[in-house]
Every structure is written in C-alpha cells, then in structure tokens.
Symmetry: C2
C-alpha cells in the first residue's frame, strides 16, 4: 500500500497537467505515449483513484486529479530541494549552515544579509541556535555552529576568529516601583550592592560571565524574556540592550538607572561575527561573513 508511490509517477502526472495531453507529456519527457499511459494507469490503480476523465478527445483532470496534481507539485518541489542540497555539496558548499546568535543581539541589522544569503544559496538549510550567554562560543567550539554572532567578553579567545560588526548600547534599568528608581541621583556601588541584580548567564558554566556584576545578590537567567518579566515586576535591576527597552522606558514601564563608573563601555558592547579558527568556513559561511562585514562594519 504505502511505499509503491514513485517520484517518476508524480513527474509524469504533473507533466500531463502542464502539457494537457498524454502524448505531449511523452514528447516532453522523451518517452512514447504508451509508457505515459501505463504509468498513469498504474498510479491510478495503486492509489485507487481516477485522475483523468478519458471520455473526451483530451484527458481532463478530475476533481481528485486536480488536487493530487497540486500535492504532487509539493512532493516534487521537496524532492528538488533534496537534489539542490546535494548539488550544493557537490559544488563545495557546506551541507548546512548553523548560526549561533546571542540573545542580546538585535535581529534587525542582520535581516538584509540573511535574506541575501537565502537568495544566493536557495537550497542551503540554515538554522539558528540561541542559547544563553556563552552558548554561541560553545557551539562554535564543538563545531555545531559555523558562525557565531555574539559578544566576546572580556576579550576574543585565541581559538576564535572574530570581526566586529556593530555595537549594542546597554542601559541599566529598573522598574518604577523599585527603590533604586527613587534614588534621584547617580548610583554608586554602595547603592547597588544591597539590591538583586538580574544577571544573564551561561547555563552550563554559570560562573563564567561575571562581567559587570555589581550586586551581592544575583539572580541568574538564561533567556532574556524571562529576565524581562522579573525586571518589569520590580524584582531587581539589570542592564538591557537599548533597542529592547527604549519603548518600555518611553512608556514608563522602566526607569533608566545611572551608574557611577559603569564598566560597560559608553559606546556599547561589541557584537562580533565569529568562527572557530580550526574549523574553516564553507563557501556559504564565508560569503555570509563577508556580506555581514561589508554591510555592517562601518
């Protein structure tokens, strides 16, 4: 029952639908008409449906036939993608491109490059991984991702090649109901120390990312949106990317916090495009890297 369907049958079916006759389909496929006729006969027989109404001069698709032709097109498109991936590999493309992207990184600046990527390599499977902080680096190192778009704090590791792309300005914020919101002046370490800081941290190695930690008590989060929930409810303070909190600050849901001698650079944290040095990029990865640098590195 299942298992006897053939791609060839579907190709023949679609070709008949496109050309309008069995004979024409035969010519187009380089086969004699009787072969076409038999192929469709077996297809109809096995599937137990009638695809064409043969009462007239030319065969007419039945209602069922019309629907199944559309389904067949989907199957063939899917098969073509299979062959497309294989062809890409044959021509030296990597079989897939995995991009690790940090949660702090804004998506918008990358859309253009990624859209161009998908046009240049239409059959390349692309996937994204967003783990917590430090996740990108881990994916790069175990070769699960070819390219990382990530922070590299405190500095670029030796085994990683990285190109700066853009900077994300950070803004310390707190909910309006929080004591720090009523401070009314620049906050000193003494001010911050007693309050809970909501820290984004590496889920695997929670001790690693202590950059910018000022409070004695930290609550650690892996994902940004959950941390935001706690932030908004007044649980503690933290630094957030400006692009994510600008609206909330305007709406009054969050209040900016000015910190004395803030170690976070004024001009923002640098977002890098990175890849593992010992794992050379494939064609598509190299293309994306070049395109990103061209578009973003000013």
């Amino acid at each position: 029952m299942i298992g006897s369907l053939t791609l060839d049958q579907l190709r023949v079916l679609v070709t008949i639908a496109d050309t309008g006759s069995f004979s024409a389909a035969g010519r187009k496929l380089g086969r004699v008409q009787s072969a076409i006729s038999q192929t469709i006969a077996t297809l109809e027989d096995i599937q137990g449906v009638s695809l064409f109404d043969r009462s007239g001069y030319r065969p007419l698709l039945t209602d069922t036939g019309r629907v199944l032709v559309e389904q067949a097109r989907l199957v063939l498109a899917s098969a073509a993608k299979f062959e497309g991936v294989a062809m890409g590999v044959r021509q030296g493309l990597e079989p897939e491109l995995v991009i690790a992207i940090d949660p702090l990184v804004p998506t918008a600046p990358f859309i253009e490059s990624l859209s161009a990527l998908s046009q240049t390599f239409p059959n390349l499977p692309v996937s994204f991984s967003t783990e917590g902080l430090g996740g990108s680096l881990r994916w790069l190192r175990r070769d699960s991702a070819a390219i990382g778009i990530c922070l590299l704090l405190p500095s670029i590791p030796d085994d990683i090649t990285a190109y700066p792309l853009l900077r994300v300005r950070m803004q310390a914020v707190v909910a309006p109901g929080h004591p720090l919101a009523k401070l009314g002046r620049t906050a000193t370490p003494i001010d911050l120390e007693p309050h809970v800081q909501l820290v984004l941290s590496d889920p695997i190695d929670p001790g690693s990312a202590n950059f910018g930690v000022s409070s004695a008590r930290c609550w650690r989060f892996v994902d940004l949106s959950r941390r935001l929930d706690f932030l908004l409810s007044g649980f503690g303070w933290c630094r957030m990317p400006e692009h994510l909190v600008a609206e909330l600050v305007t709406a009054g849901s969050l209040v900016p916090l000015h910190i004395e001698n803030d170690p976070t650079p004024e001009e923002g944290l640098t977002i890098y495009a990175a890849h593992a040095r010992n794992q050379p990029l494939g064609k598509a990865g190299q293309w994306l890297l070049d395109d990103l640098r061209r578009r973003l590195h000013s």
Copy 2:
C-alpha cells in the same frame, strides 16, 4: 541529472538512518542487505555525494548525509500526504474542502470546529475564499465552494440549504470628527440622508445588496478593511460588526450612532452555514456542518 531520484532511495536512506545499519534496514524493509547497499550506492553515485562513512564497522552518516536524511524525511512526509489524500478519496472523502466565508463573519467562533476538522481529516486540503458580500453565494452556486459561512439577506434562497449558526450584532458608527458624531441624539433618516454611507457590496452585482442603505450617496467597498480606513478618516458612516469596532469605540476612534427605526435587527444579523442544494456535501463537509451546528447553534 534531475529526474532520477527515487522515493524508494529516500525510504531506504531514512530506514538506514533509523535502524543504524544497512543490514537492519534490509530486514525492516524485507530486502536483502545487498539490495540496500546497491540502492545507496546508486543514490550516492547519481547525487554525487558521500552519505556514509564506511571506514568503521557500522556505517556513519556524514555531515552531508545527516542533512540529506532530514531533507528525505520531508520529501517522504510530503509523499505520504499525497497518498493520504488519495486514500481519503478512495474512502469517499471529497478531494478538498473549500469554504467560502463572508468578510463580516467573525473568525473566532469557528476556530474550534476547524481545528477539530483538521484532526479528524488530517490529509484533507482545506481552503478559504473570502470575496465581497455575496461572494459566498456565488462560490456555492458554481460549486467552487462546498460550504459557505455567510449572511443570507434578505432571505434564504431556494437553491441553498442553510442552518443558522450565530448572530453578529451590528453597530452604526462614525468617526469622532464627522458631523453625525456631534448630533447628540438619535439619528433620523433626514439626518442620515445627506451624508455618505460606506456600503459593503457585491463586486459582481453591485445593485444586489441594498439592505440597510439609508443615505442618498453611497460609496461601495468590497473589503472590510479598506472601508474601515475611510470610516476612520471621517469620510462617512456605516454599520460594522460589533466585534470589529468594540475596541475602536472604547479607544475613541469611532463613535456609536443611534438610528431611528434601524432596520438592522437588534439581536444581530444571522450567520448561516450554507451549501448548494443540488450539490450534496462530501463526508468531510457534512462532518463540518454537523460539528458547526452542534457547537454553535444554541
């Protein structure tokens, strides 16, 4: 190049990936191991890629192989859907179910039924048509749609079977800047007459739907959202389904208009599930109709 790929090759490939060895795949597929071996060999040969690393005791998928196995699963799923549709037809199901739905009809009450439909008939292709007012009736009559979810004004035509499902309360509204908004009392026909009424009408037969027309000057629209643009900008007045304007009225973007002797029934316009009498419903259509009546007809 293209055209020699076989579903059977993909089935074999996926089976190997699932079972972990050529021999096991052979057992599972009821074939001898050498057949499996040859199938994969030709697949690799034709596609020009290496799928397995045979250096060890068991064959290991290469990176390319891993990606292509996933692609192959997609192709097979697509092929299974093809066979699923065919099986449905074989068992008496209609090949597809087209539902014509009027623009005024709220979507929310139908989601449950349609979700149940897709669970009951997972391979049934379902599509929706929303034309202007009267479009549903036209689709039903020329058998382009099996079921219509629509208004039937002024009454149910003879060639249509219709079951009332729910009622949509209508609310005459106007933008706050419009003269009628400042009337401050129930509007009489004399009040309405000089102002432009924004009428939803049948794009094919513009004269047909004059139900509820009160103004001398009408602007006719086919789709609801465009009419809403004109309404919001203060161009004229019209009746809108309550569920669509409730928020806008609350926000002050629209003002309710009370009309003397409004011919629109207080309890709302009736939404029917309808089908053409001379075109009996298929199994799935009948099922949906019954389910809709069961869930909605109170």
